[in-house]
Symmetry: C2
Subunit: 396 residues, 2 copies
């Protein structure tokens, strides 16, 4: 009762009140005019968000559903594909593509590092049978941002399809689909889009549509050509999650009303806030370079029990952050700064983390980390998003 | 602005305010204690609703997702199954099972009629290779209620799995899974459960679980054994549609607080209200016998344009009802009396239908059909649900 819950996990995220009120609206019918108007507006906004002239299909599923749809719609069993495994969600691409019966070649990247685009180029050069490359834009388990423009540069001049999980990237950092030449871009509702989980979005390039149209879908529920046909009538193939679409209508309006540049600027500033604060606290990053703009992964000092730190942050300060997954369990903290989260929420997160570390282990870094974090934030609002900020400005 | 929208379609349905407020709550994390407590409570209530001791799994999908999950989890490509096609959703079972690669034997039933259980028994007797029977409890496209107890009686003494789409039946009429010996029972959130679409529920019998555990799932996204493992920790395999689960927590409380018998009694009374009203209007039913308790399908008089009738009902009176699907387009009206709908809403539906018929075609039946409808409703509240009511009582 003393504290508000502050959800600083990498999804689900807090929701804006306008979105919550839209979610609470009474039902309208998904095959009638009132809904068609909303769907048409949402579709236009999604194309802006994805940076594509192609359709963006909503699916009633979690993000993993869209990943399944991609693997089961674009490739036939036996075809060879390359998966970049740089964390838990890279592994999920492997599991999905293997269950689809694809012949999977892997590039394994240590957790916390980005893939080297040259390694992708070399692999594709050495094996001309590879028909697709699967990876994450942002690997949620590590907070790594992959060098997508460089990778897309490699695939778009070949007949290899580039399939990207943008679940913790879309709406958080720029990734213009058509300009880069991405063949499949997908996301879920519960991260950058400031919605509850339950809706996934997926778009295909023209050449990916050719492929999808020539293959019988591997799973009845994920029939992308049938979805595209229905979307032309502003409907979905099966019953639409109506209230999530109504919420999406509002959240897209919020994201696009001042231009996506402002959204990315905010995300960059929150990232700088977090990173300069963490640095001032004397902590290290799991992803020192190539970091994503919605999650910061922090290595805990040797001997620190991450679970205990997070429990104190939650219990005493109401801040809910995420730990590590699999072999990083207990060893890292992941602060989500995505969705309906602002500077003050992230500041609360830094403070709760610091206090958790102190109470659990007597760990204590600099005593002006909050001020440094805020100085970085304010400076980052004035630079080009993605551009590092001069240390001197931060310290002033 | 003159009229409220009254959604009398067979899903989605209007939502109770308590549910809508739950849907509007800010996010909590789906892998933390607060959510676990809700999930545990929901699970217990779902077992009561389904009448089963087995787990009831929530899936982030529409009802068709759960249908896909059933066909892709319980049978291997090449296995022979029997599908009862008695309408559009029976056809969907055929499409799904065929895409799964099953060897599909069909019983085709004219739209508006129920299947004869003897025909199922004969088919199974003649072909011992058949491993499963797929049908709807309630065929949403026709409003027919299938004779499930008689069919379950046939399958439960063999090794044939009975797989039931309960999408427009669960929470509307009784279908106790364990007592009848049903092997797979599934539904969607947007009908009897008074929620928006986007959540599906599926339960398997012990012998169906044995089957599912011995087969590699045909689609990565629908991995029922993996879901069951996670549900033991009050979680789902992939990200949960958190706000739908929170809404379900409330709607199940509403459905179960006075006992399910009261819910079925109300549904039976609404069905009698509709049917006696329609009869008094001089109209005929698509399903004269074996009708479901949440939808009434009405044949339109020869020459009447159903689309025009529905347009008048919607535009002039704010009542949204459904037409026919496929070859019944324009020829029938389907009144949904399910979800958060009460007697007054259905009365409004009858009036709007009558006025639509009159304005479009000068059609006019009895002038006391609303009173007769209400007399039937009140009488039906006093009889055993499912028991027809003496005409004399209605007319008094």
């Amino acid at each position: 009762m003393l504290n508000k819950l502050r959800l600083l996990t990498p999804g689900p995220t807090p929701l804006p009140e306008r979105v919550r009120l839209a979610l609470a609206q009474d039902m309208i019918h998904h095959r009638k005019d009132d809904f068609h108007k909303i769907m048409a507006r949402v579709e236009g906004a999604l194309q802006t968000l994805f940076g594509t002239k192609e359709v963006v299909l909503p699916l009633a599923s979690s993000g993993t559903g869209a990943m399944t749809a991609a693997a089961y719609s674009l490739f036939k069993p036996g075809e060879k594909v390359l998966v970049v495994e740089a964390g838990k969600f890279g592994q999920r691409w492997s599991e999905i593509t293997q269950m689809r019966g694809l012949n999977v070649v892997k590039i394994i990247v240590p957790w916390g590092e980005a893939v080297d685009p040259n390694q992708i180029a070399d692999t594709l050069n050495q094996d001309k049978d590879i028909r697709g490359v699967f990876l994450q834009i942002s690997e949620t388990s590590t907070g790594v941002l992959q060098p997508i423009p460089e990778i897309a540069e490699i695939t778009r001049n070949t007949d290899v399809l580039l399939v990207l999980d943008g679940i913790s990237a879309i709406g958080l950092s720029p990734c213009p689909m058509d300009a880069l030449g991405i063949d499949c871009l997908l996301t879920g509702s519960q991260k950058g889009l400031m919605l509850p989980p339950g809706l996934a979005l997926i778009a295909l390039s023209a050449r990916a549509w050719e492929r999808a149209s020539s293959i019988e879908p591997g799973c009845f529920y994920f029939n992308l050509p049938a979805e595209r046909k229905k979307l032309a009538k502003n409907e979905t193939h099966f019953t639409t999650p109506v209230n999530l679409i109504c919420g999406l209508d509002v959240s897209l309006d919020m994201l696009l009303s001042d231009g996506l540049e402002k959204v990315y600027q905010k995300q960059w500033a929150l990232t700088m806030l977090t990173r300069y604060g963490i640095k001032a606290m004397g902590l290290e990053f799991l992803a020192p370079k190539n970091f994503t703009w919605g999650i910061t992964s922090i290595k805990l000092p040797e001997g620190v029990d991450g679970k205990q730190v997070l429990a104190i942050a939650q219990k005493k300060f109401g801040v809910c952050m995420a730990g590590g997954q699999d072999h990083l369990k207990g060893k890292i903290v992941r602060i989500g700064h995505m969705g309906w989260v602002d500077w003050s929420d992230v500041l609360a997160g830094l403070y709760a983390l610091d206090q958790g570390l102190f109470e659990a282990h007597g760990f204590s870094g600099s005593r002006d980390y909050l001020e440094k974090a805020m100085a970085a934030y304010q400076t980052a609002l004035t630079v080009e998003p993605g551009q590092d900020i001069p240390e001197v400005l931060v310290r002033s």
